[in-house]
């Protein structure tokens, strides 16, 4: 395996820290302290990650749209102090949401109205338990880790429905059902795009999948799954489905302001709204983390001599890269309508994901081809996925002519 990395002191530093704290606590409670440290670490790290994702998103979106993002919230006690480029904005937002009045409609179902944001954050956070953040940093090493991830993600849909129902607002309910239709439609491409990875790696455990991507050809080309034809196609389908699963632009129909006010979140204000917002970002981060794990090599470094950077930092870099890409897409693409959304999923992504599965099977069966046959293998694999993509794309957009914008400057 990767011997230079395993004993490296920076790699082992978090574990040493954790063991020190566990040793320091009384013996009967040591197992509890051990788990609590993991939980607290994940909450602290991904809580601050969420806070800085919001400010990074606003500033990045601003720059993508030819404007500055928020840059005025400095330090509170310095009246004329430094503005810090607006980096304390998330804390200002947190204070705002905490002090806002919490309005619950009089006819609303109080228990469900209260439970919905709680459940949605809980299930979004549960998915973090099986992501391998580093070489030895996986909170729970399950054998069926991928299945656990998708099971926890599926339970968030229930909370969306509860939010829409509990508001006793027929528009909220309608929007909740549309949101549910969107999430269900994109569960299928999401899962189908992940199945080829399971096929090739032969395991459902996320840590094993990362270890599978740990080799380098010619000493510098990593074996990440995204650099194979089926992996690239699977990654693209995964990206699109992840965007739709977490209700994010261009699939943010459920929560867009011009759509039924705020959809299933209409009757939520203050901290409960912030909890929904948080769960969306946690879901996005978890899905990005899963994408990094399955396709981008997880915590593996791209070249063997770059292994001096600890594995958890590599995971974070790749995670940040994926989030920046998602923010870039948000700043570029227009929102899809509900019928365009569902048509994209059922008529385009699902057939392509199924074909990709066949593609991965071909790849697995021809693993023994070496030498010039490798080129044939790559060529056939690319053809298996690109030709249907072009054909299905042509067929589906055949009835709709390309739009001609007469007045927009090119």
């Amino acid at each position: 395996m990767n011997a230079p990395g395993t004993d490296y002191y920076l790699e082992r530093a978090p574990l040493v820290l954790r063991d020190a704290i566990v040793q320091w606590s009384p013996v009967p409670a040591q197992w509890l302290v051990h788990q609590l440290i993991t939980i607290v670490a994940i909450l602290a790290v991904f809580g601050t990650f969420f806070a800085f994702t919001t400010i990074a998103e606003r500033k990045l979106l601003g720059r993508l749209q030819n404007r500055l993002g928020p840059n005025r919230s400095g330090l509170p006690w310095w009246k004329k102090g430094p503005k810090l480029w607006g980096l304390t904005q998330p804390f200002a937002d947190a204070v705002k949401t905490l002090t806002k009045e919490d309005i619950v409609p009089a006819a609303a179902d109080k228990l469900l109205h209260f439970l919905a944001p709680v459940l949605v954050v809980t299930f979004s956070l549960l998915t973090f338990a099986v992501l391998p953040f580093g070489r030895n940093l996986i909170p729970v090493d399950l054998d069926a880790a991928l299945l656990y991830f998708f099971a926890a993600g599926a339970a968030t849909e229930l909370a969306i429905f509860m939010a829409g129902w509990a508001s006793r607002n027929k528009y909220s309910l309608l929007a909740a059902m549309r949101a549910l239709a969107q999430v269900i439609s994109y569960e299928l491409p999401l899962l189908l795009s992940v199945v080829p990875v399971v096929l090739i790696a032969g395991t459902l455990s996320t840590q094993d999948i990362v270890l599978h991507q740990g080799h380098w050809t010619f000493g510098f080309l990593p074996h990440w799954f995204v650099f194979t034809p089926w992996g690239a196609a699977g990654f693209v389908i995964f990206l699109v489905s992840a965007l739709a699963e977490s209700n994010r632009s261009p699939f943010d129909l459920p929560e867009a302001e011009s759509e039924l006010i705020a959809g299933h979140l209409t009757e939520y204000s203050g901290f409960k709204y912030a909890l929904f917002f948080m769960s969306e970002y946690f879901g996005l981060t978890a899905l990005s983390g899963l994408g990094v794990t399955l396709f981008l090599g997880g915590w593996q470094a791209p070249c063997p001599f770059l292994q001096f950077i600890p594995s958890y930092l590599w995971f974070m870099f790749k995670l940040v890269g994926m989030l920046v890409f998602f923010i870039w897409v948000r700043g570029t693409l227009l929102r899809l309508r509900i019928d365009q959304l569902t048509r994209l999923s059922w008529q385009f992504l699902v057939p392509l994901a199924l074909i990709n599965l066949g593609n991965a099977a071909f790849w697995a069966l021809t693993a023994g081809w070496t030498g010039p046959l490798q080129l044939v293998r790559w060529g056939v694999s690319l053809a298996i996925i690109v030709v249907p993509f072009v054909l299905i794309g042509r067929r589906l957009s055949g009835t709709r002519a390309p739009r001609i914008y007469r007045y927009a400057a090119s």
Binding site: A144, A154, A155, L158, M177, L180, G202, L204, T399
Partner: protein, 172 residues
Amino acid sequence: MTLALFILALLILGSAAVAMALRNLIYSALLLIGSWAGIAAFYLWAGAEFVAFAQVLIYVGAISMVVLFAVLLTKQGHAPEPVEFTSLSRFITGLIAGGGVAGVLLGAILGMPLDVRTAQAAPSLTVKELGARLMGPHTASLLVIGLLLTVALLGAVLLASDKRPDQPEDAP
């Protein structure tokens, strides 16, 4: 171990019982979903990881949606209708029927020779072994289930689509 099982059993049976007692249909549906999640926890307690996560994925993730959509799309009004006591004979018939079914089930379960090994740790089945067994000795059942699901999906698509071949496509 048995304490955990006791709590789980209380959760599962309690949710199901309260689900039947409540008059609000959505509350009953949600409590039933809670009961299914409790069953998934039971599978985890028993060491069957794969089945537990499959239970959550299928029941809480999909079947609950079906139940909730069905309730939503067919609900007549918001006021829960109270169930009234109709007649004594009906009550007694109900008791006898329910008690009879419960008795038959209990008799069948208790009378079965279950292999109860207390101290020995049961071997945990990895997902790979599960997959190998599904594709090996149990291939026939897997294929039949696959065929059943495909037929169900095709039937659903057929039922839901009402487009005639000569109707124009939707606007872009």
